[in-house]
């Protein structure tokens, strides 16, 4: 594959829908345990920390700590749902089960497969995000109708982290490789993105780092929206997430082509 084909922008086609539908059909068989598995961890953390730590801390930035944390966890749960799908599940389909290989023997391209994986990772993120939203709303911390605007934020987060995850997947030698990304990239990102505490209290340099992280922008959008307010600098946050999604998918496409087509 010559350089111009390797670095060409991905040619997207509706054929990718067939890949998405394949994943959906598999998921339908395992939907309940899959949703429970996605949500148990963040919900236990949310209720434990939210009520426990909340009782010690009292309020934060004029709201209850539970409400503060709920918005952060909504964003981080979305991030992890997309990430796990794009790392472990995609890797198993690419490398272990050879599902991708079977698909590209049909009139499908690698871009179709990647776009199917990408949209599927975002769908899983959406499902997780909607469940979190339902729980947060049920305990009274979602201010409708503006809180509904969290849904597109969840989709953007899913696309951004799905794309980044697929790029990491293209570099993976095995499942163990993903722990580098999870512990060295995502865990610090969760600490720096205002999930647990406000970023504004951090030193300037750390804050500058935080502001380039995609999760930071997701939290910055989700928190005011859940509280029923329009976020300041809304378009800038959206633009950063969109850039991560588009740039990440381009990167994933090039890296996957390099891995599988050359």
């Amino acid at each position: 594959m010559n350089a111009s084909r390797l670095y060409a922008p991905p040619a997207l086609s509706l054929r990718a829908v067939a890949v998405w539908r394949r994943h959906f059909l598999v998921w339908r068989k395992l939907a309940v345990p899959s949703i429970l598995g996605n949500l148990a961890d963040p919900l236990i953390m949310l209720f434990g920390l939210g009520y426990g730590l909340g009782a010690v801390l009292g309020g934060i930035d004029g709201t209850s700590y539970f409400a503060f944390l709920a918005a952060g966890f909504l964003a981080s749960t979305t991030m992890y749902a997309a990430t796990f799908e794009a790392l472990f599940s995609a890797f198993s389909r690419m490398h272990v089960q050879k599902t991708w290989e079977a698909i590209v023997n049909a009139p499908m391209t690698l871009e179709d497969v990647l776009a199917g994986e990408w949209s599927w990772a975002a769908s899983k993120a959406l499902a997780a995000g909607l469940c979190m939203l339902a729980v947060v709303s049920a305990v009274g911390y979602a201010s409708w109708p503006i809180a509904a605007a969290v849904v597109p934020v969840v989709v953007l987060l899913g696309l951004a982290f799905g794309a980044l995850g697929l790029a990491v997947n293209a570099l993976a030698s095995g499942y163990d490789f993903f722990s580098y990304y999870l512990t060295l990239v995502l865990t610090p990102m969760m600490m720096l993105s205002g999930v647990f505490f406000p970023v504004e209290r951090l030193p300037g340099l750390v804050r500058a780092v935080a502001e380039v992280l995609p999760l930071y922008h997701g939290v910055a959008l989700a928190r005011p929206l859940l509280a029923g307010e329009l976020p300041p600098a809304m378009l800038a946050h959206v633009a950063v997430l969109a850039a991560y999604a588009a740039g990440g998918f381009y990167l994933a496409t090039v890296l996957t082509r390099r891995r599988l087509l050359t």
Binding site: A18, V19, V26, Q97, K98, T99, E101, N105, A106
Partner: protein, 308 residues
């Protein structure tokens, strides 16, 4: 229409492919006629699978031209793959799906709707010998069943040409014979078949023409019978047992050509009677007398060294 029928189903000229500085396909030319069953033979690592990938447009050649069903590859690879079926070397059926779901989901990759493929399912299941197993899980199928399902899956789009990468590797004789039976059926239906194999018996039975590939090059091409006639004496006697050395020294000249491989001597002759007469006088030696086959050609051309 007539002109089109005269065009080869597949042609490749000067195909080259390099991986990490090593050339694995080094100038391959081949042509497959419509309706033909063509075998690509070669030891492990000869470049067969890479050649298939190039022909399907799944990998770009460094040099060379490919025409598949009249279309230029890789430029029109996606379009032409709609008329092609592929049986990969390793099973990649969807383990989460039933037999039926595997076929339905695969048909979607060809843009076929469920209601278009559903009426054809019974025939595909019958072809795979899986009638009544539509709802079975993949894990419950035997190796032979999985292979036949993979073959049926390659037929969901009613392809004109089928690529098969080692279609019977790892199967027991019963399962292998059933696959051969099915492949004959496909040829009778007028489909073109290109298969890779290292079972010479398979190639001899199924293929009108074969090409022997070694170290990225095609080193011989022709009908199995013509290749045998060209490269090997018609009769072969394989001899082993105590006293082999002494016997070979005295009786070797009775054959046109002898070859020693470890503890066995291969005697090649136009008429083996004199070799056999000598062997009858040596009861300590065991022997096997048989007509020359494609495997003899293969081993003569590619050598007896192990390829791992």
């Amino acid at each position: 229409m007539k002109r089109e029928a005269a065009l080869p189903a597949l042609s490749a000229r000067g195909l080259r492919k390099r991986y990490d500085g090593t050339e694995v396909v080094c100038g391959v030319d081949l042509e497959v006629a419509p309706g033909e069953c063509f075998g690509l033979l070669g030891p492990n690592g000869a470049g067969k699978t890479t050649t298939l990938k190039l022909l399907l447009g799944l990998s770009d050649p460094d040099a060379g031209e490919i025409r598949l069903l009249g279309e230029e590859v890789p430029r029109h690879a996606r379009e032409v793959r709609a008329r092609v079926g592929v049986v990969p070397q390793f099973d990649n059926l969807d383990p989460d799906f039933s037999v039926r779901e595997n076929l339905l989901v695969y048909a979607r990759y060809f843009g076929l709707r469920s209601r278009e493929i559903a009426p054809r399912l019974p025939r595909l299941l019958e072809f795979a010998g899986l009638a009544g197993r539509a709802e079975s899980k993949i894990q419950t199928l035997s190796g032979g069943m999985k292979r036949r399902l993979t073959l049926a899956r390659a037929l969901v789009n009613d392809p004109q040409l089928l690529f098969m990468d080692e279609p019977t590797t790892g199967l027991d004789p019963q399962a292998r014979h059933l696959i051969w039976e099915r492949l004959r059926r496909l040829t009778l239906e007028g489909r073109t078949l290109l298969l890779t194999t290292h079972f010479m018996e398979e190639a001899e039975r199924l293929c009108q023409r074969v090409a022997i590939m070694d170290r990225g090059r095609l080193i011989a091409q022709g009908s199995p019978r013509a290749l045998i006639a060209e490269h090997i004496e018609p009769q072969v006697v394989e001899v082993h047992g105590p006293g082999l050395e002494a016997w070979t020294e005295r009786a070797g000249a009775l054959a046109l050509r002898t070859e020693r491989a470890g503890e066995t001597v291969f005697c090649y002759a136009a008429d083996a009677e004199r070799v056999l007469a000598s062997l009858r006088a040596h009861e300590e030696l065991a022997y096997l007398h048989r007509p020359a086959n494609l495997e003899d050609v293969f081993l003569k051309l590619t050598g007896r060294d192990l390829r791992d």
